[in-house]
Subunit: 540 residues, 2 copies
Amino acid sequence: MKIALAQLNYTIADIVGNKEKIIVALNKAKESAADLVVFSELSICAYPPDDLLDYPHFISNCIQAVEEIAKHAIGITVILGSPTFNESKIGRRLYNSACILQDGIVKHTVHKTLLPTYDVFNEARYFEANSSFKTIEINGKKIAITICEDLWFEMERFNYSGNPLEELSKYRPDLLINISASPFNMHKKIERLNVLKNVCMRYALPLVYVNQTGVHTDLVFDGNSMVINENGSLVLECSNFKEDFQIFDTEKENREIDFKEAEETELMHDALIYGIQNFFGKMGFSKAVLGSSGGIDSAVVQALATRALGAENVKAILMPSDFSSEGSVLDAKKLSENLKNNFEILPISNVFDSFGQTLKPMFEGLEFGLAEENIQARSRAVLLMAISNKFGHILLNTSNKSEMSVGYTTLYGDMCGSLSVMGDLYKTDVYKLARFINKELEIIPYSIIDKAPSAELRPNQKDSDSLPEYDVLDQILELYIEKQKGIEEIVQLGFESALVNRIIGMVNRNEYKRFQAPPIIRIRSKAFGRGRQIPLVSKW
Amino acid sequence: MKIALAQLNYTIADIVGNKEKIIVALNKAKESAADLVVFSELSICAYPPDDLLDYPHFISNCIQAVEEIAKHAIGITVILGSPTFNESKIGRRLYNSACILQDGIVKHTVHKTLLPTYDVFNEARYFEANSSFKTIEINGKKIAITICEDLWFEMERFNYSGNPLEELSKYRPDLLINISASPFNMHKKIERLNVLKNVCMRYALPLVYVNQTGVHTDLVFDGNSMVINENGSLVLECSNFKEDFQIFDTEKENREIDFKEAEETELMHDALIYGIQNFFGKMGFSKAVLGSSGGIDSAVVQALATRALGAENVKAILMPSDFSSEGSVLDAKKLSENLKNNFEILPISNVFDSFGQTLKPMFEGLEFGLAEENIQARSRAVLLMAISNKFGHILLNTSNKSEMSVGYTTLYGDMCGSLSVMGDLYKTDVYKLARFINKELEIIPYSIIDKAPSAELRPNQKDSDSLPEYDVLDQILELYIEKQKGIEEIVQLGFESALVNRIIGMVNRNEYKRFQAPPIIRIRSKAFGRGRQIPLVSKW
């Protein structure tokens, strides 16, 4: 039996577009003489559709599109994902389903059993869990069809009470198929491989695994569809971060292939570029603008945006103030020259003075402080947004996770932007990424990488005036935010108590800034945004 | 048996403070010779604690505090709410529990069965559902203890498959107790009463219902705890929007009392004032600042803030531009005088010109447009935030739901603020509220209420240049956002097709602005924010 793995990049709610994309791949599968073509979870509407699932006509449109695709399922079986209605009066209104199309109709429907509801997942909000199990016969083979989380029954933290494979294995299937929408993070590839291998070995079943690719605002889906044999050996693997289409023939000898263990910084780099490309592509935009300070954060974002969108589509705005060092402006210019980006220099001193004059009735006699620092950051944001509004360029946010964590950032200032490219990268990640970008050529001037980080909002300011060294800070942040350790546990790991208390206090107090942050491309297991819901007003 | 209903206002994660509050009420119940005192759902940590539940030491702290409270449960029984660990290796890690304290210890624990996971509720994210049922004996009576949603088993849309009352009624209880955290919306009071009455009548059981009061950023909890007898008659009712403590004696004759059907505009008014007070009180702030344009939105927010915080704690900033009418400035001044608020006039023309000069290299020769309109709104935001930073005043956002829906608002401009007071009020609600505020005295000058709404960002601009009349707009918005109707359904209700398409297109396109909006005090059944999760990048 020849099985086509169709790893596609769908757009949320673009039911017509997704349908057409599916039909193109379906026809390609037919041309390849495939017996079966498999698409990913909720392929008809892309994953995750979130509360669009609450609109009944959204569901009807999905179902209608699946029926139209079914008309093309002649001489081939199609498995794709769609929300379907729960016809019972009991339980939630919808299922997250795999539809099996044969002979021009929707022949079978299989529902998802394990509904992930943690971190970025929210499926119990919409779906009823499956509780009846069967295999589906395709070309004389008994196939156990599962949906994404159905194979992740052994996750330590979630302790699912059911395991659909236990039920399905009673029917002695020949093959396991899993349609997924499994988001990327830096450590996911190896984790995913291990989970899937263990399923194959435990049940002595080969697995065809089809994941979606593409980015939906914050959520990156790498793809990485694959086939694993009943011994747990990887025998076929699709690309990361792009569409792919491959044929697996169950009757041919399928030799074990090497698992390409990707280097973390490279994955981060590729995921962010894919994130930028998808955001712009799916929104129908082509041009980006960003503030170029001469610091490392904006430099890395500018380099990534250039790789994602092309040099001619990235505009850098240099907005020096009286506190900007001459070196910063020169570095920023050099960066734009290296990247061949168009840039403009718009000094903010006049605007800053003008705010000072306007506020004089209220501020006269008061010392320069946080308010004045923030006026600079916000004046830059007003200029960038004006350029964005005037020319249709999309403003990229250049904040990193370290500064977003502790609030070392100005709300409505440098926190502005339509998309936060690096809001899930600690400062130490940003350095790694800068060096990775410079692997072959000095694209980001080393003077940018090597200088001490500074917000340059008052004379001779350095990040290290207010914050510990980033290698210490980032470890504490990771323990608190991603590993969910408490203060005591972190101190026991060898960090200074006063420091840990101060840092965690800063993280907690700045929840209000992150509440209004742009969407952040997620590359770690716990990112700010939908996956981390912390009360804004609390005594935490 | 004498039962004390303790309707308290907790602070999220303030486990020590909540514990002390509970002990004070417990002692008061003892003094009143009560046999039992009942607190609300998750009272030890306040509801909803969101992802703080993911921190194991948060749970341990809750449990420890409950054990400390238990020491005071001598000669009285206490029922309160806490997260507890699921000791089984199967299922999710936590339960949402009612702890029954007797004889100085935690004698029994009862878990929540129905876990709401829709709109603002997220309980399947954290909790395992209860599946074993029992009654608890207190003072010789068999009590069926339930938690909030456990009584809402008949909600049409959610079709819960289990009904804990069916199970509990097998034990022939004498009394039903429900501890709740049931958030307010404008129509909730009567809905809640009907749901609870139906339960009492169906199972012929009296009900003691204890809800929390207080506001947690966006979520308003009104309180409205009550006792309903086995015939479905209301016999005791606690206050709305404040703490209350009442004793119900099962042995006394309990006559039916009148249900106080509150007027919607009054509820809205009281809920928003409570929302402002709680936000400031729980954050430890006292002073607010806002931009006063002379329009109705800022006028109503200023009046509400004055009622919530006191006239001396509200500062109005008038920031006229060249496009502001003289009337607007006069109206804004008059309003501040009426409210006895301190105000300042900071004209923005110099700042605006200065931005124009700075942008000249890029904008020269281009027409005045959206960019220049937004520069004005954003200049005002920079001024307001500078004042906020300098003096520690908290910026109140003055956007309404109509303009937030269609994006008739400037991101990082008038969308700024720590709290959106009226982001869940349509423009037509704002007018009603203005007239309600003026019920006894002209507080908001009628010249503000009567003039045609305008953003005053270009000469002679009127909202009606870009938008339909608000009474039409608001109906379409309510059908789409709250009733989840599709375009076709709305058109069938008698609205013009082109208009409906245009409006809904605007709502969908402006998801990106709302993504970065401040938290919004929720007063309707579907508010922007946590209860409405719509993909940002989509073809919807």
